[in-house]
Symmetry: C2
Amino acid sequence: MLYGQANDSSLPEVCKLCIRHKDCFAANITNYNGYSIQIHSHVLQMNEHVFHRGDEQKAIYVVKSGSLKSYISNKKGDEQVLNFHVPGDILSIEGLTQNNHESSAIALQTSTLCVLPIVQLETMLENLLPPWLISFTMKKLNQDIRNQYLLGKRNAKSRLAAFLLEIAADYKAIGYSDREFNLTMSREDIGNYLGIAPETVSRTFTRMQKVGVLKMERRHITILDGEQLGLLAVS
Amino acid sequence: MLYGQANDSSLPEVCKLCIRHKDCFAANITNYNGYSIQIHSHVLQMNEHVFHRGDEQKAIYVVKSGSLKSYISNKKGDEQVLNFHVPGDILSIEGLTQNNHESSAIALQTSTLCVLPIVQLETMLENLLPPWLISFTMKKLNQDIRNQYLLGKRNAKSRLAAFLLEIAADYKAIGYSDREFNLTMSREDIGNYLGIAPETVSRTFTRMQKVGVLKMERRHITILDGEQLGLLAVS
DNA sequence: CGGTAGTTTGAATTTCATCAAAATTTGTGG
DNA sequence: CCACAAATTTTGATGAAATTCAAACTACCG
């Protein structure tokens, strides 16, 4: 179900390490629709990085044993854990069509990875699939990461600030104003989404208005000091 | 119900609504690598559902105007908002290769969607891409939804309970025990990921032990009452 | 065996959820 | 268009939960 079917047992040694080597995808990865992808395995010791944020992305990785975490650092230098990864998980697939890694990944214990160079994968995708399907999938994967980042915040103020900045960025991306817009959802929905009570949403917005960061009239919002709002998001 | 809104001649009209019509996928969607996909546009009024959880999944959707939210309900009947969607967002792509919708989606205001029937898309993917690439991508997309759900919890107890159940499910999926395992990450990492202080993680674990839900020895954990743990996760 | 990192526990403080009620907006029918 | 009802939002008071700072404790490593 989650894995491809294997027929060719002669192929990679790598598969022997795979936690599900009996139906490991690697058995049929070396050749597909005329695209040949050379995979190899890689062993990482505890606290060793698979990749750092900003590194050129050369591969995606499948966890075969051990465990890892992926994280990013905010402007203040604080770390935000995005996810933990156990055998069977795939790392960095969200960057398949991007040049650089958006996050960092580090081994929590000795771990084995299956390394899939992306050059051939990218070519395969670009030739076989319509561009919109690729870009929407990648967009979705990256959006999920941003949400993870958003929801890892400690307090209501940070979450709401990050939430507003997220909405603003969304609107900006489609050519709308990122300083003045309407929230189309209720306070209750916002609170539900962010894991805080609707009353806290209301109070926090009120406080933000008092310090002059933004102006709200019911659901119409004007961001007065975006920089300050950014600081609230990471505080 | 969503079908039949558009016919062939309406295709260009659809593009006019698209917020990015200059590089709108619709321009080349009708034919790609021999696969022809008939798209339609659909207008939803406020509080109208795009789909309900459990509905047969017949399409994926692109938001062209308006806004929506997606959500799921837990066993107690409480709603958990997973995401808000603005123009340019794609809905339900995580279910592309599944039969039924995992979540529900509802319009927050009058909204226009672009409807892409998945039958041809699925066939296209299955024929063109290696199965492991499809399955890993879909797995990742669904995993992110579960994380979103996890982090929407209100208090530390619920989050930690859901977190443990998540890990347990992960281990079970790869054939390990889901009742007894090692947490490979520090309390600090757990707290960082879940948006709570490491001390709170520690205290909450201690409390869970006192009520007999689980047993912990440093990072080795034994789940004694999985049912009770499930109740904590939704409380 | 001592040092270090990670974890637990305690006490004080802050933040948040909850309950309640008031204020405001929205929707509906006359 | 107005009046009334319903829903949403704001505000207040209170108790509960979580953070913070601090210190003690424990496993782990050279």
